[in-house]
């Protein structure tokens, strides 16, 4: 019998892996991949609560909005990464210290 907790555990594993990627990667595109993992884990939670909770579709609607925001976010973030690469010739975020005094 698969219960709500099973899905929540999968989602927790996805979230932790995404967080690990965001914390440890130097490449900005890798960090974006970690953020996508985190957003996906949140979506799994929303849909699981929609399935096992009160039985309405609000969780799925929220998940659709999260997907919309993820698409907008990745477009703008890649624009920033490309601009950074053009300025500094590197995709690594720890070398983006243009504002350091």
């Amino acid at each position: 019998m698969i219960t709500l907790q099973h899905y929540l555990l999968v989602s927790a594993a996805l979230f932790s892996l995404g967080l690990l990627g965001v914390l440890t990667r130097r490449n900005a595109v890798n960090i974006l991949m970690g953020i996508e993992l985190i957003l996906n884990s949140a979506n799994v939670n929303l849909v699981a609560f929609s399935r096992y909770g009160t039985g309405n579709l609000q969780g799925q609607l929220f998940a659709i909005f999260v997907i919309v925001i993820a698409a907008a976010e990745v477009a703008v973030a890649l624009a920033i990464v490309l601009t950074l690469y053009r300025l500094r010739r590197t995709p690594n975020v720890d070398e983006a210290d243009l504002l350091r005094g």
């Binding site: 907790q5 999968v10 927790a12 892996l17 990627g21 096992y52 799925q60 890649l78």
Partner: protein, 167 residues
């Protein structure tokens, strides 16, 4: 073990295993293609949860859009003769301590200790028509706001990467 459980464990293993490859593999191309399987696994979990429309949306937008954009990002931020696209790692041990025992341990304890208020649940049924009615009815304002957000993101992304004539 019944069929639902078997399918769940297959998709859960696919999702978490490929997510581990995304985070731990040393090649950017491996990371990107492992992300493909993570998205497929999550879409499978959506199908198992009775969210058919959301699973199709996941495949169309994540695999068709976001993953392709990320691959463009990988390709455009490296020199063409740069054959081994190494994914470099910094501060791995502190990150592992925070994400592993810190966040994951805390989440697992919370999930297992909490008595979740599960309701009657939703039997698997087609959701597309109902989602459309909700978007055109009670959720019309967020729907329109999301479309404005997409337009702003589109214009903003084009403005940011544009080469200025004076610079």
């Amino acid at each position: 073990m019944n069929a639902e459980a078997a399918v769940f464990w297959v998709f859960a293993a696919l999702t978490v295993g490929s997510a581990a490859v995304v985070v731990l593999a040393r090649s950017l191309i491996y990371n990107a293609f492992a992300l493909l399987f993570t998205f497929f696994g999550v879409a499978g979990l959506y199908v198992l949860l009775g969210a058919d429309f959301l699973a199709a949306t996941q495949l169309l937008i994540y695999v068709g859009g976001i993953l392709v954009l990320l691959l463009f990002g990988v390709m455009l931020t490296h020199k063409l003769y740069d054959l081994d696209l190494r994914a470099e790692v910094a501060q791995f041990a502190p990150g592992l301590i925070i994400a592993g025992p810190g966040v994951f341990g805390l989440l697992v304890i919370t999930i297992l200790k909490t008595r979740w208020a599960t309701g009657p649940g939703r039997p698997p049924a087609p959701t597309t028509a109902e989602i459309g009615r909700l978007f055109m009815g009670p959720y019309l304002l967020p729907f329109e706001a999301a479309s404005i957000l997409l337009l702003v993101a589109l214009i903003g992304a084009a403005m940011i990467v544009r080469r200025r004539k004076d610079a």
